[in-house]
Subunit: 310 residues, 2 copies
């Protein structure tokens, strides 16, 4: 949903043979195209026990697959929260997965970014910087990692290319989704948490709670008022091994400012560092880690504690 | 599943700022990447009444969304065949949708192809060549079209870019899927039907039936023996308005040769032109047309008639 028409003109016509034996097709790269749509799949229970559905918004370079099954084949958070009685909506953001993507540089402003296995291994804190090796048996994960390291390459099957600079387009489609679904909870991972926090400011009457997992710096109370979020309980969840990591060090301080601004606006904001509540060794991919159900249980219990969700 | 490692080297390192406030990341486009994987989502009934599951393989420039809901919001064939008692597996082929895609020309051999709305409108026979207009109210569909024309732009939200020249890669992942799922029925649309027919030759002990919807020319009995397919019932289904259309005219004669070769090898092959059994005006997107359930019913009844599926 949410596609907008974009017209291209002036590009040269090409002849393409789609299959042997089929006449060449004059493929005109010009014309009208749908751009900026998001894909959402939902599962509604016949008798949900919870009042509001959960919308799952994945991180950058990922798609809705994030929430489905773990790389080692266990049920993911979709099934966990269905069992808890929630209807669930799993999205692929614009430009990712089934949402499709558009020609660049004619429509998207830049080239796509492809994440290598090394970058994923290190940025996602399965092991420390420098611990990746091309040969799986030589990779040195954190000793206490919860990530199912034997299935890392299979996890890499889920990664999708992304662009830098399409954020307004992605946000727009998510905002439309919220309007269409109605009152809901949003669980966002990484970049998806940024979109969720922004969506809550724009539709505080629709979004009943935001759960942010390892969210990057985004909203800054020095520039944006947190007041509209005062009616939207926020939970910030942080996985392990962020201390001392140069990429991750700005994340918590920046988000702490937003957390504090929500509290200062008389809102509800909670802050959970998993390693401080007995859940050690979680990677960025906490919904795929071996203790993924334990992490989900923390979130589930927090949701149960919010009076506004009853 | 089915990703294979590809290593890139020698490309220059780039610095990318993923979000304001986050330190720039040195993004090394070199390294290891997973390539060629397919994505499959399955729904298993608690008590399937049918012996074998159905695998749904979409056409070129499309993804598994093809089978989910129709552009005008009715349940698609996934739900239809679940109600008939089948377990269902819906795939995104390698390079499409959630299966992800890879850098070109370094990994894929060519540029992607983006289908415009005009090309889709005319190739998919919603209206005759020349009947498309940028302004929706000026488009001239076939008078008897079954396609929900008011939702054409929403259909266009589902289209994904494709490549020419990745067929062996896509086929390989589908062949692996068949081995993993085990005995199954494959319903393939367009390019997906080509992959299904090829898969049946490679795994006739696993594939129990193939349903080909508007399949392009593919297997040629002058070059490939149809004998391995003798134990695999084949159904060829054709939508309307193909006569006189220069793009579509080679399709049926080429596939009729393959149909006849299966029969000559003492196999089972059936041929249904929808307009000759009272279903007029179907577009290429017969699983999205207003009479999509009626088309599905034709296929369902054919499956029920195959002794080998009981």
């Amino acid at each position: 949903m949410g596609g907008q028409n974009v017209t291209l003109q002036g590009l040269p016509v090409e002849e393409i043979v789609f299959a042997p034996g089929v006449p060449p097709v004059k493929t005109d790269p010009n014309g009208e195209f749908e751009v900026g749509q998001t894909y959402t799949q939902f599962v509604k229970l016949s008798a949900p026990s919870k009042r509001y559905p959960i919308l799952f918004w994945h991180g950058g370079g990922m798609a809705g697959t994030t929430w489905e099954t773990t790389p080692d084949g266990r049920p993911g958070w979709v099934m966990f929260f269905l069992h808890k009685g929630y209807d669930v909506y799993v999205s692929d953001s614009a430009e990712r997965g089934r949402a499709s993507w558009a020609r660049y540089p004619e429509i998207y402003p830049s080239d796509p970014v492809f994440r290598s296995k090394k970058e994923a291994w290190e940025l996602f804190r399965i092991g420390p910087p420098g611990s990746y090796a091309a040969n799986p048996s030589e990779r040195k994960a954190y000793e206490d990692t919860q990530f199912p390291v034997d299935y890392f390459d299979h996890f890499a099957d889920q990664m999708v290319p992304r662009w830098i600079g399409n954020n307004a387009m992605i946000q727009r489609a998510y905002d439309l989704l919220v309007q269409r679904v109605g009152p809901c909870i949003v669980i966002g991972h990484s970049q998806g948490a940024k979109f969720a926090q922004q969506a809550a400011l724009r539709a505080p009457e629709k979004i009943k709670a935001v759960v942010s997992l390892d969210s990057p710096p985004g909203l800054d109370p020095d520039k944006t008022s947190a007041a509209p979020a005062r009616s939207v309980p926020h939970l910030f969840v942080w996985s392990d091994h962020q201390e001392g990591n140069p990429f991750w060090m700005p994340f918590q301080p920046a988000q702490k400012k937003w957390h504090d601004a929500i509290v200062a606006a008389n809102g509800t904001a909670d802050w959970i560092v998993l390693s401080r509540i007995g859940l050690k060794g979680n990677s960025y991919l906490m919904m795929m880690d071996r203790n993924s159900d334990a992490v989900a249980e923390v979130i589930s219990q927090w949701l149960d504690r919010q009076p506004s969700l009853r």
